[in-house]
């Protein structure tokens, strides 16, 4: 089981990631400005409220003197401010949600589009689960940052500034002293960040191990049960679960030591200090109790944002880690092979030519060596050879799933690299070795996203490959439900649907990779006949282990360890008495006592 490591980020990396994240806010400048103005208003309201109460206590309550007009004014002011705050804070909260959701949507679309631009190489080495995490879960945890962290941090900064302004207006000396709290806060944050980064990453890593284990076990459950490995898997799972639990406990303890309890302790300390200060002054000279009241309240208000920031730190931390993973994917340069488009390059007849193509997946061992052949327009070329000899790899290159550097491939004399991608995709059709079915129904599986295809065309394609035989028997016919990966169909039925899907696009160049391996002979012969009828004007490249299915090909290439060792028509090859002859004999001699 492959488990992804969380990237270790230095302070500088984190800063870079944060900057890049914030760059996503650029298109929302106007909206953000409004949101910030609303935020400042809310915060101001939050600070002015207690100040009014303080004024009330000092000016009217303490002397017990209530001039009606002034008191009414102050009360109305208070009510007005509170009402205003209620309304403004609602819109401020909404605005930030709106921005965050839009940013995340843009990010998701960007990542998803990027994923579609990546080459097969990337998908070979990256588990699907982790790509899915990048697109959905990681962006979700970034959303939390935009929704709650940024607001909280800004709020905290404004709040701190506001509270300090108020403190200074009340008592400069005490305010100066309470400035000392700032480095204390900072120290706690820094110490917390220092250690929590490690603890937190550890916890996240354990969690992703846990999820990877669940995901793979769920999709491979059939095998696990058939080979009765349930108990082993349970034991392995327990171990990961236990480690995750331990990491969780460690985090709770650590947060308990440094987070809110510590800040609360600091708060009590600050209160003791303020009381002591005023108390001891009052022993010598009178103090205004209103100020004392305001001070204790304001100190409380000072701690509120700090508490909230501390609580959001872990979200922030996770958002940065998630964002760095998302950006890593976005920066990946394992791109789909690029096209150097020559204007108007169009596939006409569909003549295919391979010229001295060599290819390697890993840059070490060549799986294709110096492949050259030509498939003339309208002809059928068959690839045969032992398993692992490189047949599917030839197709992988022709379909531009992988980039090749040595040699070149031409269609109608123009290099494959010079066609626009759409042109290639439109004119070539491939039936894959292992069929994939999408969740949905039969019709949507044949039509895919092509909205212009008529239901008749869908049915026609199904008839072409004789899939209608079984589809018509299904209760829902073409709208019969297809579950995940088509698990309720037989393998052959799945292959037929996948075949129909390709036929429906009516490609100029048809590529078949063991398209009938799991299909019975009768159906296969029928499909052959249909193909035969439609052969005119269509170039076909076919791979098959059942030689009978390809023997009327114009050209048969025999591959062996990545090289073309024999070529010719069926007759020519038989008379060469080589590998092909041997394979053919093997299949058609009434095999002697094999079993």
């Amino acid at each position: 089981m492959s488990v992804e490591k969380q990237p270790k980020l230095t302070g500088k990396d984190q800063w870079q990631v944060l900057k890049r994240l914030l760059s996503y806010t650029a298109p929302h400048k106007a909206s953000i400005t409004i949101a910030l103005v609303l935020l400042i208003m809310t915060i101001t309201g939050g600070i002015v409220g207690p100040l009014i109460i303080q004024r009330f206590i000092d000016n009217y309550l303490t002397p017990l003197n209530f001039p009606e007009r002034e008191v009414t004014a102050i009360v109305l002011l208070y009510i007005g401010i509170q009402l205003f705050m209620v309304v403004v804070s609602y819109f401020q909260l909404m605005r930030f949600q709106d921005i965050a959701l839009k940013i995340i949507q843009q990010m998701r679309i960007d990542v998803f589009s990027k994923v579609h631009g990546l080459g097969m190489r990337y998908f070979d080495k990256t588990p699907a689960g982790s790509i899915v995490s990048r697109v959905t879960n990681d962006t979700e945890s970034i959303k939390d940052m935009f929704v709650s962290v940024i607001v909280t941090f800004l709020q905290a900064v404004f709040m701190l500034i506001g509270v300090y302004i108020a403190l200074f207006s009340l008592d400069v000396k005490l305010a100066l002293i309470s400035l000392l709290l700032l480095p204390l806060f900072l120290a706690i944050v820094v110490i917390y960040r220092r250690y929590s980064t490690d603890f937190y990453q550890d916890l996240r890593e354990r969690l992703s191990q846990l999820n990877a284990k669940i995901a793979e076990s769920l999709s491979g459950m059939g095998m696990i049960q058939a080979f009765r490995q349930e108990q082993r898997l349970e034991a392995e799972f327990d171990e990961i679960n236990e480690k995750h639990f331990r990491a969780g406990m460690r985090n709770i303890k650590f947060d308990g030591i440094l987070l809110s309890p510590a800040i609360d302790l600091l708060y009590t300390g600050a209160i003791i200090f303020v009381l002591g200060y005023f108390g001891f002054i009052s022993l010598d000279s009178p103090v205004e109790v209103g100020i004392l009241y305001a001070f204790t309240t304001l100190i409380g208000r000072l701690f509120q944002p700090v508490q909230q920031v501390m609580q959001r730190l872990s979200i922030f931390q996770q958002a940065i880690v998630s964002a760095s993973r998302v950006f890593k994917l976005m920066d990946d340069n394992d791109m789909e092979p690029e096209q150097q488009i020559v204007k108007n390059a169009e596939i006409g007849d569909g003549k295919i030519e391979f010229r001295n193509v060599s290819f390697s997946y890993d840059g070490k061992a060549d799986v294709l060596k110096n492949i050259s052949f030509t498939a003339n327009a309208g002809e059928t070329v068959a690839l045969v050879g032992h398993t692992g000899s490189g047949k599917s790899s030839i197709i992988n290159l022709l379909m531009r799933f992988y980039e090749y550097e040595r040699g070149d491939i031409f269609i109608d004399g123009v290099s494959l690299k010079e066609y626009p991608q759409e042109e290639l995709r439109q004119k070539t059709g491939l039936v894959l070795q292992d069929p994939f079915m999408f969740y949905g129904d039969i019709e949507s599986n044949i039509r895919l996203h092509n909205k212009e295809m008529t239901p008749e065309e869908v049915r026609g394609a199904a008839e072409f490959v004789r899939a209608n035989d079984f589809i018509e028997k299904l209760p829902g016919k073409f709208s019969h439900r297809v579950t995940e990966r088509g698990s309720t169909f037989s393998s052959g039925q799945r292959q037929l649907v996948a075949f129909a899907r390709t036929i429906a696009t009516n490609p100029k160049i048809l590529v078949l990779d063991e398209a009938t391996a799991n299909i019975d002979t009768e159906t296969e012969v029928a499909i052959q006949a249909s193909l035969e009828k439609m052969r005119k004007g269509r170039t076909t490249i076919a791979i098959a282990h059942r030689l009978s299915t390809i023997q009327d090909a114009e050209l048969i290439l025999v591959l062996h360890k990545g090289e073309i060792v024999e070529r010719g028509t069926h007759q020519e090859l038989l008379s060469q008495k080589g590998l092909y002859h041997m394979m053919y004999e093997l299949q058609n001699s009434t095999i002697e006592d094999v079993i």
Binding site: F66, I131, G220, A226, V287, H386, L586
Partner: protein, 584 residues
């Protein structure tokens, strides 16, 4: 609140921790009352000019001690309560996982992996929240709220307390109302997100198809639509979510105005001091959190409720296939009698199999042929006990297969499925799946039998090559042979090859069949295939047609019958003849 009752088994189990944790929480909520009280006293003493240095020092020391006590109590309840919650999530996750391993294929056919994953992650998370934050907010809002209110009433002025509390019921009413709205909208948002997740999952696993058909643009469009839906549903949540804060601010403002209005009256009437008033308003501030907590509590518990019922619903699905009481604890071997009158797949209306009867002696090889969808795989799945609920019986080694312990039954069967699934680990670990500790030599031996040994040695990492998800970095035939080796390594009594040679060439096919013939002398083998060469020499061949046996016999007998088998054979030969005709 139902969920708290439903979780009582867990709370009982963790009685001590919860009791101590709650005690610490209550202690904190009492100690919390000291600072405002002391502020009040000192303010009064200052106003009345009766403050003395020793008096002040005493109060400050008390405050300091309270602060330190609170620190430890706060740490302690976190470890106790949040710690228990983490334990709950571990326990539930384990239960769920173990449950998953007991579920039969029909369970998995009805559900999407993404959704099951969501239960194992989001729902368990919600439970953890319930057992942690839920308990915290419950206890805290009751105890802090209660103590604060009591202190206000007893030590300051009960009439003023009542007056200040007038708006609070509105708040509780409103927040719980929001909570209800939120729950529904939240569910929609969750669903939208999970659709997006499923969509992404499928696009990525089916990436090759999408690339082949050049449908990237359409797929991205589809994704964009789904993600717009996510935004919309989340905005609906936000519209309610954003109501909480302003509501609480507003209601507290009313409380403040009321208490100052009446407080002033009491002060004028000399029922109350200014210090009392200051303390009173500080206490009022302390009530904000318990009230907020009450609002949270509704949300957390609602989510916990929904999640718990989803999880219990899953857990209550009885495994369809279980060991009977007193099941035979013996590895079956011997003859096989397969007698099925009727069988339907659970999700299907049509019969998948009917009147399928055959017997197979120990050591014999049987071939199954037939058209696509004729029920070949269905027979094998019944043999493996992946599905039940058929009319008829399957007797293996003298007993019906459902009377054996499942483990023992499967010990005898080596299964190579039609859709091979390889795990994303090394080739060696894939082959040694049934016994990771098995000797290397055994792995090599099984690979040699499956004719894959040389291929593997040809890879730069040899047996340590990681095969990629589902085996993507191997060729089709290589994947098939690795899964054959995986079955052979357990030296099964009954070997089942379900069309497992479809992606290998004739030479390899022959070599594998030859190897099987040599190494498996006393054991039984069942092979399904579309290529007759793979089954021609079986002791017995059955021809399936539309879910029933159309013909049965040996190759020669079947040819003589002049039926479907002959037809098939001729079709395969015909092409050859055409060729050979051409050659002559």
């Amino acid at each position: 609140m139902k969920v708290l009752l439903q979780l009582s088994w867990f709370f009982k189990q963790r009685k001590k921790q919860y009791a101590l944790g709650i005690a610490a929480l209550v202690l904190v909520s009492i100690l919390q009352l000291l600072p405002p009280k002391i502020i009040g006293i000192i303010v009064d003493d200052i106003t009345l000019g009766r403050l003395t240095a020793p008096g002040l020092t005493k109060w400050l020391i008390i405050l300091g001690i309270a602060g330190i006590l609170m620190y430890f109590a706060r740490f302690y309840w976190r470890v106790m309560i949040f710690g228990s919650a983490v334990l709950l999530s571990r326990t539930m996750r384990e239960k769920l996982f173990n449950h998953f391993t007991r579920m039969s294929p029909s369970f998995y056919q009805k559900r999407r992996v993404g959704d099951l994953m969501a239960h194992a992650t989001n729902d368990i998370n919600a439970l953890q929240q319930t057992a942690g934050m839920g308990i915290l907010t419950l206890v805290d809002s009751i105890s802090t709220g209660g103590f604060v209110i009591l202190t206000m009433a007893i030590t300051i002025n009960w009439k003023l307390t009542l007056i200040a509390l007038i708006p609070l019921p509105f708040m509780i009413f409103l927040t719980s109302y929001y909570g209800r709205l939120l729950r529904k909208r939240f569910r929609f948002a969750q669903e939208a997100f999970s659709n997006l997740n499923d969509k992404t999952q499928e696009s990525i696993t089916g990436i090759k198809v999408i690339k082949t058909f050049g449908q990237q643009k359409e797929d991205i469009e589809d994704f964009t639509n789904l993600s717009t839906d996510v935004v919309g549903k989340n905005m609906r949540v936000a519209r309610i979510d954003a109501l909480f804060d302003p509501t609480i601010t507003g209601i507290f403002a009313v409380s403040y105005i009321l208490s100052f209005y009446f407080g002033t009256k009491y002060i004028i009437a000399e029922d109350m001091s200014i210090g009392d008033m200051v303390a009173f308003s500080t206490y009022l501030g302390l009530l904000v959190w318990p009230m907020l907590a009450f609002g949270f509590l509704f949300n957390i518990v609602e989510r916990g409720n929904a999640s718990y019922s989803r999880i219990t619903e899953l857990l209550s699905i009885a495994p369809e296939i279980t060991d009977l009481p007193g099941a035979i604890d013996k590895r079956p071997e011997g003859d096989l009698h397969f007698d099925i009158e009727e069988f339907k797949f659970p999700s299907d209306e049509a019969l998948a199999l009917h009147n399928v009867h055959f017997s197979l002696k120990q050591g014999e090889t049987m071939g199954i042929v037939g058209r696509t969808g004729s029920g070949k795989t269905a027979i094998l799945k019944l043999l493996l006990r992946e599905f039940e609920g058929y009319k008829g019986s399957i007797v293996y080694g003298g007993n019906p297969i459902n009377q054996y312990k499942q483990q023992r039954l499967r010990e005898s069967i080596g299964y190579v499925p039609q859709d091979h699934f390889l795990f994303s680990t090394t080739i060696a670990e894939n082959i040694a799946f049934t016994n990771p500790k098995i000797a290397k030599e055994k792995i090599y031996e099984a690979s040699r039998l499956a004719q894959i040994h040389d291929d593997i040695l040809g890879f730069s990492e040899g047996y340590e090559t990681i095969v990629g998800e589902r085996g993507v970095s191997l060729s089709g035939g290589q994947q098939q042979r690795v899964s054959i080796a995986r079955a052979l390594i357990m030296e099964p009594e009954l070997l089942i090859l379900d069309d497992s040679l479809s992606a290998v060439d004739a030479k390899t096919e022959e070599a594998i069949l030859e190897a099987l013939k040599q190494y498996r002398t006393g054991e039984t083998t069942i092979i399904t295939s579309h290529r007759l060469s793979a089954i021609q020499h079986a002791h017995k061949i059955i021809v399936m047609h539309e879910g029933t046996i159309a013909e049965a016999g040996t190759h020669e007998e079947l040819l003589a019958m002049d039926g479907k088998y002959k037809e098939m054979y001729e079709l395969q030969q015909l092409e050859v003849m055409v060729e050979q005709g051409g050659e002559v």
